[in-house]
Subunit: 268 residues, 2 copies
């Protein structure tokens, strides 16, 4: 079955294309090009239906979404009639939030006969299963990771973030709209008096999927940059939910974790 990769910004589309058995057709939303990956086809939301028909004509049987897209502005002058008819559904979903929008986008693709696949099925190597991948988390780290996992689960229930930082049982911060980089930069900037003495446990950055999220889009992603930010924040390592977090360039992450003295742990 021919696959189209609907790519957003960032490095994930390239990593995904490389990890797939067959080269996919690469489509990108106008204005949101992936890093380092050639785009075969550019489309606009205002002309979504012609784009979906083009995929059909090309014999595409399934699509996979990867990369970041912020809400695009819509230019009414560009709308075709068929897409215009879908607009109320799309606009209503966009008003209800990102998750609702993604659910409707998946529905629309499926209504046009395109299956929507997840990273699990097309590139499972990007989602490491349980195991310690670098360094050696200690008992204190295990306890911190467990507390962070409980916090992320509680946050997921109110649809906030996918990450938290815990050191010596104390929560130093959780991920909200501004994302991982902002969370870790904030912790790097903390005055020493506002965090526990690192000599007794440097702390863990933990990342997980939202409970109940559609695993076909928006799985959390970490990479070498995450490890650099974790080291800059003075933490001891990264733990993540095994099988649910995409690792961009795992080999380089393992090498870098060793260099930075961090652990990297896919937690069951």
């Amino acid at each position: 079955m021919k696959t189209a990769l609907v790519a957003g910004q960032g490095r994930l589309p390239l990593a995904l294309a490389r990890a797939m058995a067959d080269r996919p057709l690469v489509a990108a939303l106008d204005g949101f090009s992936p890093d380092g990956l050639a785009v075969d086809l550019t489309f606009r939301v205002e002309r979504l239906v012609p784009f979906l028909r083009a995929l059909e004509r090309d014999g595409i049987g399934q699509v996979i979404f990867a990369g970041a897209v912020t809400r695009p502005r819509l230019d009414p002058a560009l709308l075709d009639e068929a897409t215009a008819a879908l607009l109320p559904r799309l606009m209503q979903a966009m008003a209800a939030g990102d998750d609702a929008t993604l659910r409707v986008v998946i529905q629309l693709f499926e209504e046009f006969g395109l299956a929507v696949a997840g990273v699990d099925s097309v590139a499972p190597a990007l989602l490491p299963g349980a195991g310690v991948l670098a360094g050696t988390p200690g008992l204190r780290d295990e306890a911190d990771a467990a507390r962070a996992a409980a916090i992320v689960t509680a946050l997921g229930a109110v649809d906030v973030g996918q990450g938290a930082v815990v050191a010596q049982g104390l929560c130093l911060g959780v991920e909200a709209l501004p994302g991982t980089d902002a969370l870790l930069a904030g912790i790097a900037a903390l005055k020493p008096g506002l965090r526990p003495d690192p000599a007794r446990g440097r702390g863990v950055f933990y990342k997980a999927a939202k409970p109940g999220q559609d695993r076909r889009i928006d799985l959390p992603t970490i990479g070498p940059d995450t490890l650099r930010a974790v080291a800059a924040a003075g933490l001891g390592g990264v733990a993540f939910q095994a099988g649910s977090v995409i690792c961009l360039d795992l080999e380089e992450m393992q090498r870098l974790a060793g260099e930075l003295g961090l652990f990297l742990w896919a937690r069951a």
Copy 2:
């Protein structure tokens, strides 16, 4: 009944002493003096029992705790025999966290015949009941405050923070160990692309007690500095749980909110 105010750092002890009907005896932990309030009696944790007996001798019937205290270092050379016997209980509680420590401290005072009162009973004016205290929160602000309240409730269940910032339904951050100042400073430092367009709703800082917390200690506190930080973060105002959040100098807060163009809202 004579009351002792056991004061920690910050401005709350002074505000509390002023709001009480009768002047209390002011006791402070060695090294943690309140701002602007004369201390009648200094004590050390190593000599807790002699301190409790001195309160008894002075005819003190109840105590109220106010102000911040970080875990003091203990000097074994200063211990008296009676306090030494209590140490295992105290140390165990300190290892289990701040809430556990406070519970044990309350128990010890009660075992020595001292009732532990809350702000509710000795200075209810510091805890505003439901109502808009400054400005006019709009429908968007009401929705943001409701979402923030749900987030703080979820966080409370995992014993994290008492505050959250929501703008246009999106959570910009939650309060963790580093506290309100760090949260608001982080939001002030956000790049514009990482938050929704303020023209459509500037957002709300929301504060509440932890669900199920002992209301006799560590109720959340806001004051004029909070409003300045909220303005610097570009938010539209402050909402808080009516009857459960201490307002330091409410009159000054109302004046300042007007000057800064913020609303201040005790939400039922």
